[in-house]
């Protein structure tokens, strides 16, 4: 094959490409596209897919999945695109190409997490109220249910002492933030539990978001460092990517809305926002928020 015929083939493939506009890009996803590179399709779900570029992941999803730092919102029905796991992906500033599909970033807006509301109106016993809601409304296979409902499952048996250890560490930090993170208090939760992002990771994302929102910057920094250091070996690469983002202050729109609602005393809105995240993830994030709130909110 000559160079000329290569060029003709490439041009004809480009002409046949289906174009899917990306309408919004999370700030970290946008940055990954700017850096460019080659990757592959790591997973395809009903409403979203994940592209892996080295240790990083970005999510391409339908508008219904909500905005997030690592998310590109596409104007297409993902299940109708015919994508499959393992396909090569080429990432560039203006587009992502997978097979005959071109996800076009030309006209997309960048999404950033809004600022936390302030000043905080009242926290009161909202953490306890959320724990009560979780005990009756969260899915039985969630960490939230394991922590707050009276049940005895392998997850509950393993998770309860670990969360108690985390709460004790948090309490110590609150009184003396110069003491380092106890290895086990944080790391024993990483990678714990079911789900695409394990429940323990979701719990820690909730804790990080709450600490950031209430201005507990020193404790947030220590927890963020502990999470960032340990995540690569203790949880799945995909979940580690989300944990790193949360440690850097980047959380998804629904978790932001949940925490912001708590800060203004609206538990119902917080629960409604959390329900928008996955099957158990939102509730498990709320569990992290509630436990952290009990320590730092008083």
């Amino acid at each position: 094959m000559t160079l000329a015929s290569d060029a003709i083939d490439t041009a004809s493939i480009a002409l046949r490409r289906r174009v899917v506009p990306i309408v919004r890009a999370g700030v970290l996803a946008r940055e990954m596209c700017r850096r460019g590179g080659r990757g592959d399709v790591a997973a395809v779900f009903a409403r979203s897919l994940y592209v892996r570029i080295g240790d990083e992941f970005l999510c391409i999803g339908e508008p219904g999945i909500g905005n997030g730092p690592l998310t590109l919102i596409a104007s297409a029905r993902i299940s109708g695109l015919g994508l499959r796991r393992g396909q090569a992906a080429s990432i560039a500033e203006q587009c992502i190409v997978i097979g005959d599909l071109r996800f076009d970033l030309d006209r997309c807006e960048t999404w950033r997490r809004p600022r936390w509301p302030g000043p905080i109106v009242r926290l009161g016993d909202i953490g306890a109220a959320i724990a009560r809601r979780a005990a009756t409304q969260s899915p039985p296979d969630s960490l939230a249910y394991a922590l707050f409902a009276a049940n005895d499952t392998p997850l509950a048996r393993i998770a309860r002492p670990r969360v108690a250890c985390f709460a004790a560490w948090l309490s110590e930090q609150r009184h003396d933030s110069s003491c380092p993170a106890q290895a086990n208090a944080v790391t024993s939760l990483i990678g714990l539990g079911p789900g695409l992002t394990p429940s323990g990771d979701d719990f820690l994302m909730g804790a990080l978001a709450l600490l950031d929102a209430v201005g507990q910057t020193k404790i947030h920094a220590i927890l963020a460092q502990a999470v960032t250091d340990a995540a690569p070996t203790l949880t799945s690469p995909l979940s580690a990517c989300f944990l790193r983002a949360a440690a850097a202050g980047h959380v998804g729109e629904s978790l932001h809305d949940a925490v912001a609602s708590i800060l203004v005393g609206n538990g119902d809105a917080a629960v409604a926002a959390a329900r928008r995240v996955g099957h158990t993830s939102g509730w498990d994030m709320l569990a992290g928020v509630a436990v952290t709130l009990r320590i730092v909110g008083s």
């Binding site: 779900f45 994940y50 508008p63 219904g64 015919g82 393993i158 203790l234 995909l238 099957h279």
Partner: protein
């Protein structure tokens, strides 16, 4: 002797809800004592170890891997379960995939393939639904817009444009229609007949059409309008066009309108149009009072009453044997509904009897439920608050499991009231799931249910009723009957009878 079987899928990611569903399916396989499907992190290996299902192979999993772990009663059962689990894991992850190369990718291509088509069903993310509906209108098609999350101003504009072209837009958020005998989206298989239905309520249309079918009559067309058509901003554009269509339809002898109470000005507009028809109408603006009805219309307070007025006779009610029912627990009724209008109807039944009731979707006269609410409570589990990012309970009945477990554990709840909605779009075996959720329960609350459906549905109603009755559920003939039965069972007299029986 029990055996532990582990299988590792390297670098595999599955959606959380798929993981949960597969875990449950694998755990329910014959001969399986315990099972888990979970990422291979160190912390998760602790969980599998605690459950006694982690073997040497599972120990080698990396954090990005997926571990399938199970314990079976013997080697043969383990091998069979593993084979079935692998089959479940290897099914296409995306429902419906792969898409056929022959499937049209655009509305224009679809019309080329099917030039006689006159209706497009639009189901895309809300941000794009209006654009797709406009394409349908441009091609001369009526549109049924299943999508939600469309701003109401855009809905009104779209419907005005459609009306100007003589086309109808059903929706957005239109989940149910039966056009010329063809069920669209969430709808039941009912015979064709002379009763037309116009509804802003999906489960309202389903309950009325099924009651009509089970009484031996049929439906000419059931036209969904979308839940906001009767709001002032939209002005009943689709409802009025649907009335025009059924008024002109020779096969339609009687028209039923079903909706939540409209804005007053919109109600006048609709009832004026009804008054200009020569056909009889039944108006079921559920929860509305003192409607200024024209002479050819009668008001129905419930869905059951609407069906009865359309049929021109009362529906037969199957007698239930209450003598062995023990209701010694608290006197509260907890309703857990998949159908929004069924939840509304249950509230109406309680309010009409003078009983206080609370709900997350309260009708006028009902209180808003909160964490401290005691007494009779009706929860619509299909409300946005429960379904954002999760399947609707009509599709995934497990959404009701946790609230049901909480109600069963609550000593103040004497009667639990449920609905089971069948038909296209609904779960293939909702009663089977419910029966499984109720299996092994000890004496406690009485469970009362209604089953919206027909024997011609993909899930034949009589089989679903039998499964519920076998699980000890009292099945009433309609949702209104179920609510009335729950109310009667929760009355002090009934509880005294129950206490005396113990």
């Amino acid at each position: 002797m029990s055996v532990i079987v582990n299988e590792i899928r390297r670098a595999t990611y599955l959606d959380s809800i798929v993981l949960m569903r597969l875990s449950r399916q694998i755990a329910a396989l014959p001969g399986v004592e315990e099972a888990g499907l979970i990422t291979g992190t160190a912390a998760n290996k602790d969980i599998l170890r605690d459950a006694g299902i982690l073997g040497p192979e599972g120990e080698t999993a990396a954090p990005g891997d997926l571990i399938l772990a199970l314990r079976a009663i013997d080697a043969a059962a383990g091998a069979a379960a593993l084979a079935e689990a692998k089959r479940l894991l290897d099914r296409p992850a995306v429902p419906g995939a792969p898409v056929s190369a022959d499937s049209p990718r655009t509305l224009r291509a679809a019309v080329r393939d099917m030039p006689d088509a006159n209706l497009a069903l639009i189901s895309v993310p809300g941000d794009f639904a209006v654009a797709e509906a406009r394409k349908a209108l441009d091609l001369g098609l009526h549109a049924m817009v299943f999508s939600d999350n469309v701003p109401i101003a855009e809905e009104a504009a779209l419907k005005r444009e459609a009306r100007a072209r003589g086309l109808m837009v059903m929706g957005p958020d239109c989940g149910t229609a039966i056009i010329a005998g063809l069920p669209l989206a969430f709808a039941n298989v009912v015979p064709r007949g002379d009763i037309g239905i116009v509804g802003a309520s999906g489960t309202g249309i389903q309950e009325i059409s099924c009651l009509i079918a089970r009484a031996g009559r049929g439906v000419s067309h059931a036209i969904g309008t979308g839940g906001r058509d009767l709001k002032a901003e939209v002005g009943a554009i689709t409802t009025l066009m649907a009335i025009d269509a059924l008024d002109a339809d020779a096969a339609t002898a009687h028209v039923v309108l079903v909706s939540k109470p409209p804005a007053a000005a919109v109600a006048r507009l609709v009832l004026d149009r009804v008054g200009r028809s020569a056909k009889p109408f039944t108006i079921c603006f559920i929860g509305a009072a003192d409607l200024p009805l024209p002479a050819n219309a009668r008001a129905a307070p419930t869905l059951k009453a609407a069906a009865e007025l359309a049929l021109g006779r009362p529906l037969a009610t199957r007698p239930l044997d209450l003598t062995s029912v023990q209701t010694a627990r608290g006197g509260s009724v907890r309703g857990l509904f998949a159908g929004g209008t069924l939840c509304t109807e249950a509230q109406i039944v309680f309010i009409a009897a003078g009983l206080p009731v609370a709900s997350n979707v309260p009708v006028p006269g009902a209180a808003t439920v909160n964490g401290a609410t005691v007494g009779h409570v009706m929860i619509d589990l299909g409300d946005d608050a429960f379904t954002r990012g999760r399947p609707h309970p009509m599709i995934e009945p497990a959404v009701r499991d946790a609230p049901l477990a909480a109600a069963l554990a609550d000593p103040g709840v004497g009667v639990i009231l449920l609905d089971v909605v069948l038909g296209y779009g609904a779960h293939p075996d909702p009663a089977g799931h419910l029966a499984q959720a109720l299996a092994g329960r000890r004496d406690g609350a009485v469970i009362v249910a209604s089953v919206t459906g027909t024997d011609a549905d993909p899930q034949p109603r009589s089989e679903q009723v039998a499964k519920l009755e076998q699980a000890g559920v009292m099945v009433a003939d309609s949702n209104a009957d179920a609510a009335a039965l729950a109310m009667a069972l929760a009355s002090p007299a009934a509880r005294q009878r129950g206490a005396a029986a113990q």
